[in-house]
Structures are given as C-alpha cells and as structure tokens.
C-alpha cells in the first residue's frame, strides 16, 4: 500500500509522449491498465523504498533527494498514473536533490524532473536534439 497521499492536484497538463502525434495516454482499457501497472511498479519499487531510507541515495559530490522531494515525486507519480500517462522507463535521482522520471521511446527522450525546490519541468528531445522545456509546476505551487 502506498505511503503517499494525494492532498492536492499539482495542476499538471502535459503528457509523456512516445512518438510524434502519438499520445500514449490510453483510450483502450488494456493499455490503460498496463500504464497504471507501470506507474505502480515505479512507485512501489523505487519511490516508496527511497522514502523509507533516503540515505541509500547519498553519495559524496551528489545531492541526494530529501524525504520531502521523494514524497513530492510520489504525489506526481500517482497523479500521472491516475491521469493515464504512459509510465516512465525509469526514475532516477538527478544528482542535485531532485528526482527525474525518464521516458525513452523510439527517437524520443523525455525527462520530467521534480526539483528539490518543488518545481516540475518536462524536457523533450528528439534524435538527441532539444525540442522543448515545459514548466509544469512552479516551485512555490508545491505543497509538502
């Protein structure tokens, strides 16, 4: 059972996207279930475990995410799961106190970064070239 509770919507309006003009947010029930299972895996395997022991991410020269940032990332993950977004390929500490959800699909690479200050940004690259940077959540709009 998740340790995180959604207390407010982060107001996110974007989507992880697997290909041009091919939104991965599903209209099909099967795909929707697969997306949800993918998010559950990321939440249970990583975010909850990191939340139980944030010290495991500590490394000299890198800033590990705080428990608050891990909780924020958990909120975001559950919101995106419930919105039917495609699950990320992986979730990683960004080395600067934040947590990044990465989606690698075909020639697309996207990273949705939950920063230590609570801000959320979605960066998109195509063929390893920068496409866009979309701020999804301003730092001051996050709540712990």
């Amino acid at each position: 059972m998740s340790e995180f509770t959604i207390t407010q919507s982060p107001g996110i309006t974007g989507k992880f996207q697997a290909g041009a003009g091919n939104p991965v947010s599903s209209t099909g029930e099967r795909e929707s279930e697969a997306n949800r299972a993918g998010w559950e895996r990321i939440i249970n395997l990583y975010l909850i475990e990191w939340g139980r022991n944030p010290a495991r991410l500590e490394e000299p020269d890198l800033l590990a995410p705080s428990l608050e940032t891990i909780k924020n990332a958990g909120h975001i993950a559950m919101c995106l799961r419930d919105l039917g977004w495609s699950p990320p390929t992986r979730v990683v500490p960004d080395g600067e106190g934040g947590i990044a959800f990465e989606l690698v699909a075909s020639n697309y690479y996207q990273s949705l970064v939950v920063s230590a200050n609570g801000g959320v940004e979605l960066d998109t690259f195509r063929d390893c070239r920068f496409v866009s940077r979309v701020p999804l959540c301003a730092p001051q709009s996050m709540s712990a």
Binding site: Y46, W50, R56, L57, E58, E59, P60, D61, L62, A64, T89, R90, V91, V92, P93, D94, G95, E96, A100, E102, V104, Y109, S111, D123, F125, C128, R129, F130, R133
Partner: protein
Amino acid sequence: MTQGWEPVADDELLFRRIPLSQENCFSPAESDKPSKFAFRPRHYDSDGLSLTRAKYSIPEQEAGRAKKKGCFIAVLRAGDLRQHGIAIEAKPLPDNIGHVVLPGIRYDNRREPEVEAMQVLLAQKLCVEVLGPFK
C-alpha cells in the same frame, strides 16, 4: 610531451563512472543505456565533464576512484564524440594522468538546452557499453 598531455586519439576509449548510489542511472533491467543524468556535470566540473582515458587505466582501477558504494563504468569512443562536435581536452591530474574533460559540458552551462541535448546524446547514442557493477 609529458605523459597524459598528448592529444586524445580518435580510437581511444574513455571511462565515465556511474555511482551505484545514484540508483537506476544504469539498470540493465530497465534499459541497456544509462540515464542522461549519468553525464550531468557536478559542482567540481567547472572546466568540463570529467572522464578517464582507458589507455591509462583499467575498469577496476577507475572504479576504485569512486568515493562510495561502487559504480558502473560507461565506455565512450573519442572519435564518436568529436564526430558530434564534442571537444575533448587532456587534463591529467596528479592521481589520474588519464583525466580528460569535455569543455563544452560544464557545471555552469549544464541546464542549457543544447548542453542537455549533449548529455542525452552521450547516454543514448555514444555510450558504447556499460561495465560492472564494480563494488
């Protein structure tokens, strides 16, 4: 020329450590490519992203430079980087004569879109293989 200062040849391999504590930055179960965050400059990379020339090291020795927990080692080919416009400068250190930097990818410009794109390129296309884990 003093050892370590000679130009890096195109056929040379370069090592980049990926700390195990930066969990999931490389996980064979998730992907055969590392995360772009494995190539993000750190606060001390003021003159460029640090790598080590394989001709002056072996993976186990390079892994021994990790400060905690162990690491994976990403392997890149110098000529591949140059073909994509990424410069390489030899910058030997007292404890690592094989030290090189990528001066275009620095801590101060790490968040610039073109520099982030280079980090994606290193992770997704130019990483030849990942060795380890070394503990």
